[in-house]
Subunit: 352 residues, 2 copies
């Protein structure tokens, strides 16, 4: 059942039926009721493609996810929670989410196509790198877009929402320093990512401010998986000068760090402290009462919601001046941190 058939059945013009259903004022309330009833009875839904073609709006928002055989963004820990949050907001506003997985090499073409094909009204950019070429590209293409995160070396104004990774890691590192830890391992995410760069610089800033040497022997960077956290921590703990505390870039590698610590018969929070960044992932909450890990926390689901809201605002009013939101993470104290052990020998001793 399409609009023509419906209008014929009602003995009305397509114009009137369309207007009746879309809530335009210039139609008699009585006829509107009649139209609505008929539409309901026939389970009529306007064809979205036709509607889009006529209006120019697709009511879809694109998310381009690059993938390679090695890794992809979808399998990023935080991805599903982000789109969960964004999706809720889309639903409220009548938008759908268009997910487009593309080969790493095809990424530019994918954005071009998405913009030109007109299948989306706006785009969310995930996981910006330090000088992300996508931002310039999308500006050139002239399609509304919103970045989750930031791209340090991009100087033109663009719309983004980011958490202040640097201050979060600086504060967390200071927290450990205050507890007397002087050798702190950094289990960072892949430093291709802008946020990982910022986290490292926060960590370094805290150390430098206290006159503590920044030692790359206790700094690692890779995709944030559990085994990565395990092996990185394992290596450092086995070294001659093991850290007494770790900073992990996500709760996932932090679980690996925990496993490494426990595999050496050490106790988390007593022998070795751990702080992680906690994105408040729904299926991996940081405990139920007292947090398992002391953590810098910021909900990625909330970020998804907010990005979606702001992007929709942008779509509705393209002349909005660029928005930039910077969220501060909160530092929540859990069971995984405690004063540095009196003598660092504790850790070495267990090595046998």
């Amino acid at each position: 059942m399409n609009l023509r058939e419906l209008s014929e059945e009602l003995g009305l013009s397509q114009t009137t039926v369309s207007r009746a259903l879309n809530g335009f004022p210039e139609v008699n309330e009585a006829t509107r009721k009649r139209v609505q009833a008929a539409a309901e009875a026939h389970n009529y839904r306007p064809n979205q493609k036709a509607k889009s073609l006529a209006t120019g709006k697709s009511m879809q928002i694109g998310h381009v996810i690059p993938f390679s055989p090695q890794h992809d963004m979808v399998s990023n820990v935080v991805f599903s929670d982000f789109i969960g949050g964004a999706g809720e907001v889309y639903a409220q506003h009548g938008y759908d989410m268009l997910l487009s997985l593309v080969n790493f090499d095809d990424e530019e073409r994918a954005y071009r196509e998405l913009a030109r094909k007109g299948s989306v009204d706006g785009i969310i950019v995930h996981g910006p790198t330090q000088d992300d070429p996508r931002i310039g590209l999308l500006q050139e293409l002239g399609i509304p877009f919103f970045v989750h995160g930031r791209s340090t070396d991009v100087t033109t104004a663009y719309n983004y929402l980011d958490v202040n990774s640097k201050s979060a890691f600086r504060r967390a590192t200071e927290f450990l320093l205050d507890l007397g830890h002087e050798r702190i391992g950094l289990i960072n995410g892949s430093e291709r990512m802008d946020f990982a760069q910022r986290r490292r610089s926060g960590y370094e800033a805290a150390l430098i401010a206290r006159g503590i040497e920044v030692d790359t022997d206790v700094m690692r960077s890779a995709e944030m998986t559990e085994p990565y956290g395990f092996s990185a921590a394992q290596e450092m703990l086995a070294s001659d000068n093991p850290p007494t505390a770790f900073m992990a870039s996500s709760i996932v590698p932090a679980l690996g760090v925990r496993r490494a610590i426990e595999s050496r018969n050490l106790t988390v929070g007593r022998d070795v402290s751990v702080i992680c960044f906690d994105d408040a992932i729904s299926y991996m909450p940081n405990g139920e009462g007292e947090p398992i890990f002391t953590a810098a926390r910021s909900s990625v689901r909330d970020a998804g919601r907010r990005c979606a809201e702001l992007l929709i605002g942008l779509i509705n009013d393209p002349d909005t001046p660029p928005v930039a939101e910077l969220w501060e993470a909160e530092l929540v104290v859990g069971q995984s941190t405690g004063p540095a052990p009196k003598s660092a020998a504790t850790i070495a001793a267990k090595k046998a």
Copy 2:
């Protein structure tokens, strides 16, 4: 730049330009080259909405994800890997993925709309329950769809791919029984889900075959989070008759189980054994060499790929007879299992 402008510039009809670009035979190779060059030069991409409207195909595949304030499917551990796999295949075939988050209450309406609106050519059904109403609904709507999983009580034929949860859990439980374990805790997923039912029945079947009582005191069912695994295992271990082994429904609660075990100063694989179902989630791999957990393994990413392939086949040829694939999980032995301790007193003893 649209088709009309392009054709005017070329001094050709829209028909010819369209046919040249779409590889139809009735156009001179020389003109085709000319058209392609011009299209390339102007960075022309056909408007997808117009194309869809004309052809009737949207080249989009829908995934409807119900959500509620409490929980949703997106935040299911396996979700992102599944769509990662499916997305790869979609990309190869020129399809995009339409993700539609909807309120639990609105789910039926969402499917109806998706089908009627014509914005998708096919639908993937996630997380079927035991007698899932969506299957009947989609059959009635007459849109190609594919189910990831199965719905036990649906008797009509439909297309699905599932892993044999029952045999996987039966074999895993038998493996523990062979090691001498006689009290085995079950940390199941939410038994609203069909697969969770099957896993339980596999577990029960193994016990019954050995004449061991099925005891609901050591059986739990809930959303598969880490804290759930922790608290469920914690409770059981603290009981008068604690299990010497656990079966967990996913690696995520298994991590919680591990934490519970270690928090009681027990050792996984020696004092208490753990087996989990391992979906081979990319950011949570089960170790790198020897698996951390002994596990029934089946890659959910592969499942995503396969579902996508089969659905696309269905779309291209709607008359394909219903396909049903049942995958057997493989049982991989890792570090988390070992013979049952000589006396169950080991566990009790540590309780003080």
